[in-house]
């Protein structure tokens, strides 16, 4: 049997925190504790509303940080963020995001991926496209069919869980494939991988 996963909530205003706390408590397997509890919570969920990012406390060792953001405020981020969760996602998706960052992985809401991709596109517009195409073709040819399939779904904005559910694979297996394809493509995050897939027409861009 697994232990309940401890989660602290913060940021936002008092009502936001109360609602967030009630929501997280209602998710299966999650238990809300204070940030100063012993042992420290596995995850701190922090509501980034106007002005509240500056109040972000120092994280205890071993506590992962998941920020609740909107597309408007997802670009200026503090260091050490494990996940970005869009406030337009469902409560169930929040449970998945919390578990993902608790395992030491990253989480990015699909709707935020588009905003970040556009930001990256603008930043990389000065790179030589011919050289990029050649390198990309080589990198893509090293992917297995399953990795290519997963990369395509990733670029459609699906979370690891959604990809796993679509392919009837475990989330851990999808994460393993992603780690492999990151290495083969020479990228360091799902955002970069998604950008790669979109740029080289492996997928239609997310809407």
């Amino acid at each position: 049997m697994t232990q309940r996963l401890t989660v602290a909530v913060g940021g936002g205003c008092l009502l936001d925190r109360a609602a967030l706390s009630a929501l997280v408590s209602g998710l299966p397997g999650l238990h809300v504790v204070g940030l100063d509890s012993d042992p420290p919570p596995r995850v701190l969920v922090w509501d980034v509303s106007a002005g509240h990012l500056a109040e972000l406390p120092r994280l205890p060792p071993g506590t992962a940080l998941l920020l609740l953001v909107t597309t408007d405020n997802c670009s200026a981020l503090p260091p050490g963020v494990a996940g970005l969760f869009s406030k337009d996602e469902t409560p169930e998706a929040l449970g998945i995001a919390i578990r993902q960052v608790a395992r030491g992985e990253q989480y990015l809401s699909p709707s935020l991926a588009l905003a970040l991709l556009q930001h990256q596109r603008a930043a990389s517009s000065s790179v030589d496209p011919t050289a990029l195409l050649s390198a990309a073709g080589q990198a893509l040819s090293t992917l297995t069919d399953r990795e290519r399939e997963i990369l395509t779904l990733l670029a459609e904005g699906l979370s690891n869980k959604a990809i796993a559910a679509r392919l009837y694979l475990s989330v851990r297996t999808v994460e393993g494939h992603l780690a492999n394809l990151y290495t083969r493509l020479g990228v360091h995050s799902r955002t970069e991988a998604a950008l790669f897939a979109i740029r080289y027409n492996l997928s239609t861009p997310i809407r």
């Binding site: 998710l27 993902q100 869980k161 796993a164 694979l169 475990s170 851990r172 393993g176 492999n180």
Partner: protein, 205 residues
């Protein structure tokens, strides 16, 4: 990580159909908490792939509709639909009146046993297993030959779908949640392929 070296650990959890709604220790909340706490990588459920992919739970069992699907939505657990047909055990109702009456009596007896068993560990234990197996075997004898063949075929198809899930993603922790009436038919079929996985008690998954 992809894991082709470790054998899949597979456990089968017997459920008690509509009795999960009753105030038993093995109610819907308990079923949800068992699956959540076990946190299997893959959860094989009694629903067809077509129904699952179209989010049509109308013909699915109570267990799937009000427990497994909810847990799946709130966790990292991935449901693998393994039923070949929406037809469940309770759907096999003979047309002849005397057969129907006998089946009904055996159903009542099985439900009495399920209520007495009450707890999940008892429902999935040896004593209740023998009782359930006996009642189900008697019930199946009263069914028509066509119904028995259909029941056998759907259990075989379910076992094959479970094996495919193991082959697709080996080395994982897999929980198969099925109504207890199916356990006696499904377990021998799975044991026949036990070289592909290790079958363990659900509490040891």
């Amino acid at each position: 990580m992809m894991n082709t070296l470790t054998r899949t650990r597979l456990a089968v959890l017997g459920t008690i159909s509509d009795l999960h709604r009753e105030p038993l220790a093995y109610d819907l909340a308990r079923l949800r908490s068992i699956v959540t706490d076990l946190a299997p990588d893959l959860l094989c459920a009694e629903i067809t792939r077509e129904a699952w992919e179209s989010s049509d739970l109308s013909l699915a069992s109570l267990e799937v509709r009000e427990a497994l699907a909810l847990v799946e939505a709130a966790t990292d657990i991935v449901i693998v639909p393994v039923a070949s047909t929406p037809m469940q055990y309770a759907g096999f109702v003979p047309s002849e009146q005397w057969r129907r009456k006998l089946v009904h009596r055996f159903d009542r007896l099985l439900q009495w046993g399920q209520r007495k068993a009450n707890r999940p560990e008892v429902v999935n234990g040896v004593m209740f297993g023998s009782f359930c197996h006996t009642i189900c075997a008697l019930t199946e004898m009263i069914w028509t030959a066509e119904d028995r063949a259909a029941w056998e075929a759907q259990n075989k198809a379910m076992a094959e779908n479970i094996l495919h899930a193991v082959q697709r993603d080996p080395g994982r922790r897999m929980l198969v949640a099925v109504q207890c009436q199916r356990l006696h038919r499904l377990l021998p079929l799975l044991h026949a392929s036990a070289d592909m996985f290790e079958i363990v008690n659900y509490q040891a998954l």
